[in-house]
């Protein structure tokens, strides 16, 4: 289980996460919605240990990210896909994917490479194995980004607006892959502005508003008049997103 407990995170006097609690069970797809600046990326960055918490606790399968000695184990259990891909520009697609399995999981190179090739093939990039990120389209880069995360066999896949830097065609390339992962039972924490897509694949939807989680509901309930839509802030957000 991925457990976020009363997490507080501030940058100077700006409180970005204000007592956030969230539990993600294995096999679940949990979508985080919220307007720009509400703290979604910060929450993801706290879970993968990039940001230090000011208060509270996050455990990934019982490994506490706030404890330096447990952080490494916690990190092995989550894999992040980033909004701006964050690929290593000096490495080929293949090396981008195999670096962490070889260095962190100490997998033999040949094995790691065989798996990376299989992953690339599964997202239709079998001919881009030896290509550098600069030579790939945005959608292709993000598919490599997804393979890089999957290569770590994470228990929890963290996705932070992974399609918002992509045009509609490339977006659907990537969403198709995520939909397949969801069907296969991959546990996901999914930050997105793709409301319709989130509705299709999520088990639960949480809404972050100014650093507070104001709802945490099963998907159908979130979109029902008596559930999420009963909250003015959520209704307003959804209608604005649907217009856009």
């Amino acid at each position: 289980m991925l457990i976020v407990e009363n997490v507080v995170k501030a940058f100077g006097s700006l409180v970005v996460l204000d007592g956030v609690s969230l539990t993600v069970k294995p096999g679940e797809v949990v979508t985080i919605l919220g307007s720009s600046g509400s703290g979604k990326s910060t929450l993801i960055r706290c879970i993968n240990g990039i940001e230090k918490l000011d208060a509270g606790r996050i455990t990934v399968d019982d490994f506490d990210v706030t404890k330096p000695r447990e952080l490494a184990e916690a990190r092995k259990r989550s894999g992040t896909v980033f909004q701006l891909f964050n690929l290593y520009p000096h490495m080929t697609a293949l090396s981008n994917i195999t670096l962490a399995p070889i260095e962190v999981l100490k997998r033999p190179r040949a094995e790691a490479e065989a798996e990376a090739r299989a992953l690339l093939a599964s997202v239709g990039l079998e001919d881009k194995v030896d290509v550098y990120p600069a030579q790939l389209s945005g959608g292709q880069r993000q598919r490599v980004g997804i393979c890089r995360a999957l290569a770590m066999k994470p228990r929890y896949l963290l996705l932070d607006e992974v399609t918002s830097a992509l045009d509609p065609e490339m977006t659907s390339e990537v969403l198709d892959i995520l939909a397949k992962l969801a069907r296969d039972g991959t546990t996901m924490v999914f930050v997105t502005h793709e409301i319709e897509f989130a509705r299709r694949i999520s088990d639960r939807i949480v809404f972050l508003e100014k650093g507070k989680l104001i709802t945490n509901l099963p998907t159908a309930e979130f979109f029902s008049a008596a559930g999420g839509l009963a909250l003015p802030r959520v209704a307003q957000f959804l209608s604005k997103m649907q217009k856009a």
Partner: protein, 223 residues
């Protein structure tokens, strides 16, 4: 009675002077690059106490004349610490430290040139700081710093001529002696200058070669 004509042996002396200059240059470059790299790595790890001390020392070395540093080491340190200081030792210490200070600056900016987002990604996947330095930062930083490094070394070669002032028999000192004996400054300094020029060109050429190779490797930048 002075003998003011050039003799074939003057060529031997010039060659020896050039040898001393190049030797001092290579040794102080090796030491300076090593120290500068270590300083850069210390800063990367944000080691407390050490990091600000290094920044201060580097600032001091960059912002005071090498000649003053040389006098401080050659004349000042022996009196203070009651140690013997040969000209060549003083020259080695001073030039190594000075090179280290500038290498440090190059290393720091090369490390900073590597995008934060990739580093965060690698950290999120569980790579240690050392693994990030080795696999993500170093390959890109090396490509970034080849140009500035070459420019620095060409300059540091010229700076070695200062050590002639404390009596090291380098190329400049041999030139000065030759000039005193022959009283033909134009010829002597033209020859000495030409030798420095050729050496500097050689360094620049090697640097450009290496940079070109790194550039080819750095084609990933998609330029």
């Amino acid at each position: 009675m002075r003998y003011t004509d050039f003799t074939p042996y003057d060529l031997v002396l010039l060659a020896q002077g050039l040898g001393v200059t190049l030797w001092v240059f290579l040794v102080t470059t090796a030491i300076g690059v090593t120290i500068g790299l270590v300083w850069g790595i210390v800063r990367f790890y944000r080691v407390p106490v050490l990091t600000p001390v290094i920044s201060f020392v580097s600032e001091f070395l960059k912002n005071s004349p090498v000649l003053v540093q040389l006098f401080l080491v050659f004349f000042g340190v022996p009196g203070l610490l009651h140690v013997d200081m040969s000209p060549i030792l003083a020259a080695t210490i001073t030039l190594s430290a000075n090179t280290a200070a500038f290498i440090y600056v190059i290393v720091v900016s090369a490390i900073e040139s590597v995008g934060r987002d990739q580093i965060e990604a690698a950290r999120a996947f569980g790579l240690t700081r050392w693994q990030v330095l080795r696999h993500i930062i170093a390959p890109q930083a090396v490509a970034f710093s080849a140009g500035p490094l070459t420019a620095l070394l060409v300059n540091q070669l010229q700076v070695t001529s200062l050590i002639s002032v404390i009596g090291v028999m380098d190329l400049a000192k041999i030139g000065a002696n030759l000039n005193l004996r022959t009283l033909k400054p134009f010829l002597v300094w033209t020859a000495v200058g030409a030798l420095y020029y050729v050496s500097a060109k050689l360094i620049a050429l090697i640097g450009a070669r290496i940079e070109a190779r790194l550039r080819a490797y750095a084609a990933f930048r998609g330029l």
